[in-house]
Amino acid sequence: MARAAVLGRLTWRVGTLVAFRDETAAARTLVFQIPDWPGHLAGQHLDVRLTAPDGYSTQRSYSIASAVDGDLVELTIERLPDGEVSLYLSQVLSIGDQIELRGPIGGWFVWDPATDAPVLLIGGGSGVVPLMAMLRTRQRLASGTPFRLLYSVRDPAAVLYEAELETLQSADPTLEVHYAFTRQTPAGHPRRAGRIDGAFLAEFGFAATLTPTVFVCGPTGFVETVAGLLVAAGHDPHRVKTERFGPSGGSSDGHSS
């Protein structure tokens, strides 16, 4: 059940990197094998803890990108400039290496497949990662729930999961994916570069009258702007769930301990 709380105190586990694939020049998907993984709901995240030989330790949160798949869990790491953790995870961590993970975490920003309401996903930058878990889970369940993904991204080279998104939507009339390129559009793209605004929502999103469940994820500024647009367009604030990442789009790769 989507809103079920998890019984039992959450503790650190060890995951082993078993595969990876580069999604873009700056983003890599890591596949971890986590023994006795209890499964997760689409939208949940993991906390990752790294420890240096001198005892220095730091943590970050990353959304799970994959649908449930036994004891395999995927994270997509976007490398942030000067990001000590994202740099390590996306460039240094090697097959066979182990790291400490805690999860699955978060019962709020999760999609409950048992509900029939259409689902509007709005992601900014790496905010698309948990939304991709929802799309993959929907695919796995062969769910016919109408879904739309509005994906705000800098430029075509920054798009995550492009081929997969194309495959998913071309085979499925109940799924639509729309891009808002904010800096540079692909050649021949019908819209000029720009952020998601009220007009974009009106044209590509589900109308408020359809009472969709809406998930908005990305940098704090993006999330709050979009949430404001949704409420202004008549969406019930209780049907809008948000998850804010740090300012650069990944969970803060600053100085959190």
């Binding site: 709380a5 019984l7 995240h45 019962g107 709020w108 920003f109 804010r244 803060s252």
Partner: protein, 87 residues
């Protein structure tokens, strides 16, 4: 940095302390009476600890500090916390 996140950020730290998911708990702000889930609270996580503030009035709802082997949790900003307990 100096930018806020939301209560989803605190879910992992709280899950280390509680056997139920506190991020989906409904809390009432002791300052203004606004109710909402912890996940939608305004959270500052860069500081020496995590601070969750009311999205309406900005008063502090919860504060959490972790040292290596101890946790301090202050909830004086919350009148009441409502949790769903699974069967």
């Amino acid at each position: 940095m100096g930018i806020h996140l939301d209560g989803n950020t605190m879910a992992g730290a709280l899950a280390e302390l509680f056997a139920v998911d506190v991020s989906i708990a409904v809390v009432e702000c002791a300052g203004c009476g606004h109710t909402g889930v912890v996940a939608e609270a305004v959270v500052y996580a860069d500081a020496p600890g995590m601070v969750a503030r009311c999205s309406e009035c900005s008063d502090v709802l919860l504060r959490l500090v972790r040292s290596e082997n101890r946790a301090w949790l202050d909830m004086r900003g919350v009148v009441c916390l409502r949790l769903d307990i699974p069967d």
